[in-house]
């Protein structure tokens, strides 16, 4: 009787693991298609970002000495961190990498909570900060899978405004950079003051500025910073879907392995039951003779 019960048990576990496998397999496919869309979105953003950077750096690098607070380093009293996390789980180590990087940064650079503030995209990051009592000034939860610029515009412009109002003196952004479907790298970039404009574009053209450089920078730099935030978000979304795909694939692989093991045990148990039955019959016949 015991072996029959365990047979039924094993059968049940095999069935339920198979069902889980079906679900994770489907989720992998969904994530894969979301990822390719997200990758496309990130690519669509590139021409805008490149052009913007070219114009900004050609103005900033021109030797007329146009200056703007967003280009100038100042004493850092308060640092802003913008983190891009996901709203859902089931994305492997996607969120924990970012949050670890955030915590490491904070522990290395700051001694009190007055020295930094956090701007959060994504529920996972928000919950984490709430639980730990970290100061969060702004957040967006429920970011769609394929965000448009309008989705992040408010947060981006308010964040840039915080820098202009001197509420923060530095802005870092932490997100997962999408390298490929199987590789995402945690990236920590200083966004403000704008530092790494590089030399590119400086020599390409000598522009006339209408009305003048200062006023153009006034319009251009916030737009540039906002676009960088949007770019990081797109990059992060592509990584999120890739991470989710990888997580679901390894879940499917694990389920396959588990089903294999369980089927082996099931067949063994079945064989044992048959052998036992035969022994009993043979024993019974021998006793009658």
């Amino acid at each position: 009787m015991k072996s029959l019960a365990s047979l039924r048990d094993l059968k049940g576990r095999i069935d339920s693991t198979k069902k889980t496998k079906q679900i994770t397999g489907a989720m992998e496919l969904v994530s894969a298609s979301k990822m390719s869309k997200a990758e496309q979105n990130a690519r669509g953003f590139v021409p805008y970002a490149d052009k913007l950077q070219e114009v900004v750096s050609s103005i900033a690098n021109s030797n007329t000495g146009a200056q703007h607070p967003m280009l100038v380093k100042r004493e850092v009293k308060k640092t802003g961190y913008l983190i891009v996390t996901s709203d859902r789980g089931l994305v492997g180590a996607y969120n924990s990498h970012i949050l670890k990087s955030l915590v490491n940064n904070i522990e290395a650079k700051h001694t009190s909570k007055d020295e930094y503030t956090i701007i959060v995209i994504g529920r996972k990051g928000y919950d984490f900060c709430r639980k730990r009592g970290l100061p969060v000034t702004q957040s967006i939860l429920g970011m769609p899978d394929h965000p448009t610029f309008a989705d992040v515009k408010n947060l981006a412009s308010e964040t840039v405004q915080m820098y202009i109002n001197q509420e923060i003196d530095e802005l870092h952004i932490i997100y997962n950079h999408y390298v490929s479907a199987i590789s995402q790298v945690v990236t920590n970039k200083q966004l403000l003051p704008i530092a790494d404009l590089g030399e590119q574009g400086a020599s390409t053209s000598n522009y006339e500025f209408e009305p003048n450089q200062e006023e153009i920078l006034e319009v251009l730099l916030p737009q540039y910073a906002e676009s960088l935030i949007f770019g990081a978000l797109l990059d992060g979304k592509a990584s999120e879907h890739a991470a989710s795909m990888t997580a679901m694939r390894s879940a499917t692989d694990n389920a396959n392995e588990l089903i294999g093991d369980l089927e082996l045990s099931y067949n063994r148990a079945r064989q044992a039951a048959i052998t036992q039955e035969i022994t009993e019959i043979v024993g019974g016949v021998a006793a009658l003779e």
């Binding site: 052009k51 114009v55 610029f149 009305p211 006023e215 949007f230």
Partner: protein, 132 residues
């Protein structure tokens, strides 16, 4: 006759890429017309309509929050949002216009006022493009 390669680019990707004879935009300092072989120029744009002329045809693009970069044979308009007439959601723009008007009537907070005014401008701008 030479033409201008015009591209209108937003964070969501390029909206329009084509050759035109003339581009008329509303810069911060007033309306400017660009013909081929213009001197390199950078200028912020108002929330306004960009007119792109080819022969007798004029194509309109609603621009909000952007600037233009001009090179002798090329005009690039970089905007946070831009739509050609056939991509404008008229209903949405109408709703946005009503919302903004209402907010302007019953709100005195300066920041909200500025925002509502901008929203109203964008909505009217879109409707102008869609209706012409």
């Amino acid at each position: 006759m030479s033409t201008l390669a015009v591209s209108v680019v937003t964070p969501e990707g390029p909206i329009l890429e084509d050759n035109f004879d003339m581009v008329v935009c509303k810069a911060e300092s007033g309306e400017i017309g660009i013909l081929p072989k213009h001197i390199p120029l950078v200028s912020p744009l108002q929330i306004s309509i960009a007119r792109l002329k080819k022969g007798d045809d004029t194509q309109l693009v609603a621009i909000s929050g952007g600037f233009m970069e001009v090179q002798p044979d090329k005009v690039t308009i970089l905007a946070q949002s831009a739509e050609t007439a056939d991509h404008i959601d008229v209903l949405r723009a109408k709703n946005a216009k009503e919302r903004a008007e209402k907010r302007l009537q019953d709100n005195s907070d300066t920041i909200d006022r500025v925002r509502a005014e901008l929203a109203l401008k964008r909505a009217i701008n879109r409707l102008d493009v869609a209706n012409s």
